[in-house]
Assembly symmetry: D2
Homo-oligomer: 335 residues x 4
């Protein structure tokens, strides 16, 4: 049997999600005209303690790129980290959705942006038409290296974006894990901190095929609705996407799932304290590990990704079994 | 209780589809690296009796537009009917996916293209860079007015497309209904007739959120795979889309469902023979009907769309209940 | 020797334009940083009696499409006449510049739009994301069939565009000819009538390779400047484009040239009164003429285009020689 | 009086170019249907000693981006130097023309790419749809830092591009200066070395507003013709662009002009040998120079750009006067 720590993006679907989907299997209006889709805005407004506008889409790539496309004109730019998913792993989707806007890459420890790093990108850009002018900042929470922005850190970036008249987008594919780590309110990390649009990830956290784009600006949401249709992401049986999201919002199941995933990662990290390349702040572990050592683990039934020639990347999910995590921790400790 | 004949696009999901999805809820590789997605090419090759390459996507709009985007350069054109879904109802998605290629509109009875109608579009186009040159033809099977192209009719268009070095795409959102009506092999209507890519619809026919783009040309499929990712349509839990499609292909459930939908339409049409605006060749009915008459029907619990000021559009689905259809037929007959 | 009535788009360059270009051949700042480019806004503000913002570009296609691209989001539409140059003759350039926005075709006599014809396009468009929503209207002055909108006619369209919150663009490739025909102020036909951006044509009217996009809205101009660079239309020796335009504005040479072209057309029309397919309101003539008759004229040294199987299109220019026009008039009369 | 060493992009126009333009001022067919445009292919085939296909456009940005757009699919990438003009200075034009393809940045001394630097970009790119796959390489000759690729160096890159099935583009805004420096045949640096398309710059070298895209592959040229029109770059009086280019090709005037510009730079460099940040291989000089020193020079009437906080960039042109260059050399030596 394989103990799976490849990625949370292929984890199983939470029973409540299945139940909600099955319950949604009655005729209703197509697209987002159904009763469940109609509840989304209110449900997220509850989560974020202020009015917000939410759209379901099928993938994180679609969520990120639709959000950015509403914010950035084709001739503009998006400042993001060199390791950002939108830069490294989305097959050029931002270029497609934004009609050729430019990703402008910043550096920063743990794949985190800082105001200083953003300034380093902005400073050399001269005013005028020869140079692409940045129109938005995109940060990932938790980052691609498993790190979490504190509310204060997001707020600093939010202030900078406000001062520079740029929009602020948060790729929250693992937003739940970040909230679970910080144990603060979702609002503190987003709208209160100056974020205008959040890709709120559910697929990695118990969902099947539904993410939410949560807008804290109604004008952006209005544009996004048109662009979602234009991108073929307005599914006709949208009620099944709304059902997934509502099931995960209900009783904060999303947070419960994220806590479970983080806890699972914490268990593994106990056996790997001296190998950590990054602090474990969510459900991702980056470990120093030779190829030979990786072979040993894989030989024992553990599945995970390489992280460069001398590292390993392990990701836990809401359904990771504690006993598997303990076994992994022991196996690592015994290397 | 409402008897629902609005559109098949919001019909319920077939139990076999649910079963297959639930069965797919075990860890596997993400995206289309899973065991189920790997079976698609073979499964469709069986259906079409020749090698083909198939990609799942979440919507018919995505299927159509991805197919066209692989066929048509940005500076080219797509000949389609004035009533084609890609022209009338997809929010400009073809313009997005093809990067601005032009839809070139042809006329034709029943929303069907003919070689003559296509020639009428082509003829006035002068050679040279000032005029957009058509690179593909797109036909809808069954059409937006519920009509079906015979194999001979598709073949004629296929020959024209070959002679003019244009690709031929078929929007098969209701492909099953067309096959069910003609009772011919799927191949006869597609690859044998010169079709290069088919949007094979499942969502309207018992699926939840999965359509297939079936390519009869490997080069097109290779491009489409990149473009699917780039459009955010490569879902990470793609196994659930593959599961839906395989369940509907299994034992020709797709055909069985389509036959049931067509049969349901036939029942209604028995009460409406003198009102038919179009022959009923699938699961769509277009009836002459005054506003007052529509009110009567709606008052009796029937839901359906207007079709212009003096018409009604009714669509049956795999799950339409024969008793509801009989009730509708009687109600219409009694108007 | 050939007497040339093919198109004004290849006419000769006015001596004053040459002189101004030669005079501009001293070092200055590149792009639009030079002293001549800096004068454009003021020069056009004089012409239009109100503040306006003007950009030079090399072609009418670039002028039209840049203007539209600043007005219309990719998911939007542009209402134009079925015979509009942007629809028929620009090789899909609007699709490129607008990132796939849709041209929505209206009918109308003489290639002129009317409020009623525009309403006929708008009316069937339902609100909502499935249907492309129009964001601008584009009219051609003088039209592709040589007809001229009166100030009152433009104003009516301007009011409609205002009521519907759409921008109004005027393709003025032959704007001078329209002004010359109406003998009204340029403002009356544009900004006073609700036009937001004008492609002011100079190439057909004595220029070499410079058109102006005149914006009556500063925000649009600001966007257009970035998009011009992005389209490769910010030439480094832009001073030579500014020089051409200033030379043609100086002393209203553009109007003098247009009057000469119109007068030349009037001369020809005197021999062709019974053949006119359209009233002659500028410098274009559309005549009923059989293939055999066309052959006769061509045999006598006259060059012009066919206009369908039984017609001829003749265009005069600022440099058409009256004696050639009289010869043409006589030749036609003698057919 | 100002002694101008800002950029060659605003230099004066060569008398032969004026003469050719004035001579072209007779009626001819519009666009590229005229007699002069028809000569371009042959004229460049002579220069490159093999069949080639050439298109005029108005700017280097248009030349570069049209070339790349014919080579790279929207989902693909272009490998170029971090300092490449297409990356730093074209306002996002490559994103516009290629519909969002990705520029993939390589490092290298003197803004020159090497096979090793290109490999460093390629190596980490995994196969598969999640990662943008490079489809072309673009090099600048001479580079943005005034350096020149030898024929052997281009050939090495050409071989790599061939092995990896990538196209090779050369931005030759200062191609003449490179040929003048190396005193080799143009073919040796381009088609013989594996280059598929060259942006052959004339504007910086005595032209007014005409560059050539020279294709060594007919299929690419066929696509580019459509895309040129679509980008609004098919000027109606194209004969004046062809005239410029033919005048500069005639008797190798382009080479003569480039030699003059290089010689002018050599004169300046004689006074600045100990300040050179880059070897002077063409007509650009990059000098170590403090702000105070720059002020001194500017006080004496010399115009040039800063190059970072402690440097100066000076560019000579075909019309730089030797006495001005000597004065500059002396002034620098005397700092």
């Amino acid at each position: 049997m394989c103990m799976h720590f490849m990625s949370d993006n292929a984890a199983s679907v939470h029973p409540n999600v299945w139940q909600a989907m099955l319950a949604a299997d009655t005729p209703d209006a197509p697209y987002d005209g159904d009763a469940l889709s109609a509840k989304l805005d209110e449900a997220f407004s509850d989560v974020f303690e202020r009015p917000c506008w939410a759209l379901w889409v099928a993938s994180g790539t679609a969520a990120n790129c639709l959000a950015l496309a509403t914010m950035v004109p084709p001739q503009g730019g998006v400042i993001c980290h060199r390791e950002a998913h939108i830069e490294t792993s989305e097959g050029g989707a931002p270029g497609f959705y934004t009609h050729g806007a430019k990703l402008m890459l910043a550096d920063g420890e743990g794949a985190k942006l800082t105001p200083a790093a953003i300034q380093d990108v902005i400073e050399p850009i001269k005013p005028g038409v020869h140079w692409v002018q940045p129109a938005a900042i995109s940060i990932t929470q938790a980052t691609e290296l498993g790190r979490v922005y504190t509310s204060a850190e997001v707020t600093e970036i939010g202030l900078l974006s406000r001062d520079r008249t740029m929009w602020l987008h948060m790729d929250g594919a693992r937003f739940g894990n970040a909230v679970a780590f910080l144990r603060c309110t979702p609002a503190k990390l987003t709208c209160d901190a100056g974020v205008h649009a959040l890709s709120f990830g559910f697929v990695k956290n118990g969902g099947l095929g539904a993410e939410a784009i949560v807008f804290f600006d109604e004008g952006l949401a209005d544009i996004a609705r048109y662009r979602r249709k234009r991108a073929g992401h307005l599914q006709s049986k949208g009620r099944f996407l709304a059902a997934q999201i509502l099931a995960l919002l209900d009783g904060k199941l999303w947070l419960e799932n994220a806590l479970a995933a983080n806890e699972a990662a914490a268990i593994i990290s106990q056996g790997a304290a001296d190998r950590l390349l990054e602090p474990v702040e969510g459900n991702q572990l980056f470990l120093r590990m030779s190829a030979a050592e990786r072979d040993v683990l894989r030989g024992r039934g553990f599945a995970f990704y390489d992280h460069g020639p001398d590292g390993a990347r392990m990701v836990t999910a809401w359904d990771s079994r504690p006993e598997d995590c303990r076994a992994m921790a022991e196996a690592i400790a015994g290397l």
